[in-house]
């Protein structure tokens, strides 16, 4: 017998939204520091294209000396801190300075999860693919390590694993001979959580959410605040947007 949902009781989602709104009211009208986590998909249900996951990175809030997001990504995804130019790097901090005005900004750059990803276009085996919910991934089972995608990516977001790996996180398989990049913490998203970088950011400069949901925090911020996509001239429509650049 199927359980009939009790409509009189508040759902978990409604409670979470209510809670977040109450928190937001304490900070400033219209600005919520706490992002509402997405309701997890029921187990066994495939991802849907109704969702478009994205990040909004506010460079104004990003501290040039802080690399908490990078450390969180290293720990979550089990890649060692990059020491040599050929080492794996899923996310990096980039410092920009306008020479004329002297204005400096710092921002994390990772895979931009393009809607029209060039890495997918060039992949000869179909290993590089875009998931229905907009996350660009590498299927390591079919990656032959040709590195065409690394050449095609205008953001230099992908890395090649040159050495054997033994310290993988059980949720994040990775190994020698494959190309890899930010997965938007796909294993966490699949259990209804957000990426580790967004969670670790001490100034909440990284907001994660569904760009297709007009009620989500990220969609609202993108609607209200001026944001840019890196190299928007390439018309790749990245899912990662930046404010304050």
């Amino acid at each position: 017998m199927n359980a009939i949902p009790d409509r009189t009781r508040p759902t978990r989602r409604a409670l979470m939204i209510g809670g977040a709104a109450a928190l937001g009211a304490l900070i400033a009208p219209g600005i919520r520091l706490v992002e509402v986590a997405a309701a997890p998909r029921p187990q066994g249900e495939p991802v849907s294209s109704k969702v478009r996951w994205g990040l909004l990175i506010d460079a104004n809030r990003c501290d040039p000396d802080c690399r908490e997001c990078v450390v969180a990504c290293e720990n979550e995804n089990g890649w060692p801190q990059a020491k040599r130019p050929t080492d794996v790097q899923w996310i990096r901090k980039v410092d920009l300075k306008d020479r004329k005005s002297g204005r400096a900004v710092s921002l994390p750059v990772m895979c931009q999860h393009c809607a029209e990803p060039p890495c997918v276009d060039v992949c000869p085996t179909g290993a590089s693919f875009k998931r229905a919910d907009g996350i660009v991934l590498v299927d390591r089972h079919s990656c032959i390590g040709c590195r065409y995608c690394m050449m095609a990516c205008p953001y230099k977001a992908r890395s090649f694993v040159h050495e054997p790996v033994t310290t993988q996180n059980p949720d994040v398989p990775r190994g020698k001979g494959c190309v890899e990049s930010c997965t938007l913490c796909v294993h966490r998203i699949d259990r209804g959580d957000g990426p580790a970088c967004a969670k670790a950011c001490p100034t909440q400069a990284i907001v994660f959410g569904d760009l297709n949901d007009p009620d989500s925090e990220i969609a609202r911020r993108v609607r209200e605040v001026r944001t840019v996509q890196l190299r928007a001239d390439l018309k790749l429509d990245p899912g990662v947007r930046y404010a304050g650049l």
Binding site: N75, E76, R131, P170, D171, D190, G194
Partner: protein, 132 residues
Amino acid sequence: MRRTGRIVLPALLAGAMSLVATAAGRVPQPAYDVDKSTTCVAPPAEMRRTHMDLLKHRRDETVHAGVRGGKTSLEACIDCHAGKAGGTVTGRPGAFCEACHAYAGVRLDCFECHQPQRGAGTKVSGAEVPAR
């Protein structure tokens, strides 16, 4: 004469040995160390023949459609099949996957990328981290 003896004798010996082995039911079997041996997915005889198909089917579902968890996930397999000693399915002579694959002479590629150790790696965030 001597040459014929050289060829015939090993052949005879091999024939006799295999006969002994099958007649007495003493085909050497791989010895493996396993924590929990269950029939949660299918009976062992079926699993021996079809586990690679199940894993392959599952891997495409997981990578492309985000279907995770449950008893057919590789992590769930490792949870039960990792040995008591070492808690791993490979990298040791008696480890579950390794023992059979060495016996059958089939190369085992999964663990060049997947973590063979139960509860190992650099897992820092689990379900216990509250959703923000």
